[in-house]
Symmetry: C2
Amino acid sequence: MANAPAAAQALALLQLLARHAEPMPGAAIARQLGLPRSSTYHLLGVLSDSGFVTHLRDERRWGLGVAAFELGTAYVRQAPLQRIARPVLARLVDATTHNAHLAVLHGRDVYYVIEERARGRPSLVTDVGVRLPASVTASGLAMLAVLPPVQVRALYPDRGSFVQRNNLGVTSLTALRSELAQVRKRGYAVETSSVTTGFASIAVAVLDHNDRPAAGIAVTYPVDDAPDAAALVDAVRSAAAELSTRLGRPRAPADPR
Amino acid sequence: MANAPAAAQALALLQLLARHAEPMPGAAIARQLGLPRSSTYHLLGVLSDSGFVTHLRDERRWGLGVAAFELGTAYVRQAPLQRIARPVLARLVDATTHNAHLAVLHGRDVYYVIEERARGRPSLVTDVGVRLPASVTASGLAMLAVLPPVQVRALYPDRGSFVQRNNLGVTSLTALRSELAQVRKRGYAVETSSVTTGFASIAVAVLDHNDRPAAGIAVTYPVDDAPDAAALVDAVRSAAAELSTRLGRPRAPADPR
DNA sequence: GCAGATTGTCTCAGATCCGAGACAGAATCG
DNA sequence: CGATTCTGTCTCGGATCTGAGACAATCTGC
């Protein structure tokens, strides 16, 4: 399918603004998008007419507008991912008898969108609406592992970007990269006690049709249970593959060697 | 400025999806946007490639994607409106000695993005992050009053759309329209005790360069204080005009006759 | 206060896109 | 089970856009 280049550029502009902590000057937007200045101001005009972008005239900068906010909250309300994921997680919970959850990557955080509790299992901190640092969660590591390295680097520019939890979790980009290499090698991510002391998680990324992480799916079990990890891995992987397929990805994630 | 029609259409598509409670079939999207089917699938392709839209293949529907979510939360994080509004609200609080807040319209709710407390005044329910039904708040009424009537009707399709608070607030579209007509006539909105018993608010909409409500700005005072309402109205109106100008609107809102 | 830099607007023609409609596959209906 | 409808993909030429660069206004630095 051919592109609608102006549409793609407008979306890229929005994503550029979303990645920055502050509104940006028009020329910086053009530069970072690699667009002619006239085309950029053209797009900014279209985006501001529809409310996606706000021109802060006195600061001579451009930032996201209320329509961007509305889009984000409509996503949460409409919950397209959850609609198809909920039955998948319900089956995963039934099959494994452990809690399962679904999270989306959100900057350096994960944001939990489904928490499915197994019968007789305790509620966990990974409840819907909660955010946790991606680098200390299995879901987060699974998703980070399938991002291009430059994007991981952009997320973690310095040691100050890292947050630990329960005194656990990597604290440098080198350590993170090493961790992510292991995730890729295994085909799944794990964490033990860094989210909830005494609990461990196994997670796999759910990939969209462009092989980007749409979500991470995980099960959490008490360390003392010592369950059949290989069986859990298979179950989580199957669930992730099913979700990917339903999101339009042509095939399941490659099995590890 | 001429249009980039594909960009504008892509944004319109996103807003259409945001307005619907559920993902939509491709042909329905085309129909409601008044676009040729091939152009619509074209745009859906661009939008799904960038993650703004998700194709739910089994349901044969299209819904918002994770990139939409990221945009919304980037808006909240970046807070372009708050950046320029905060000093304006601080001055408003100083000048009036009452609490002031800023809210954005969000479907049938208002969402509070700034709460500026005056010295010696109590904290109110209208704290940052809180949502309240627009029809029971002064800020909400002020913003609804500047929406086109068809948009107001779309927000409130039936009596079930209305929510009261403290047994106050309109409960029908006819009553709402009447209320909004009064808001327009006065040039500001008021509510008494429908948000917090014993407190009243005066609000004015902050308009963007297309005369759409970017936010509502309000002061809240105890009813028993019986402050100089005309002075409060002037102060709120000035603050709203200042914000509108900084958002690129050419002139302040017209004074009422 | 002035020169230079930056921001934002505008023009218009060569380059490129958009969309009517054909087509194929899948789902629905009787 | 076959007909009909719906979904999604694809082609290609007439219609329209994109972007180089000129210009004006504003800001910054000296």
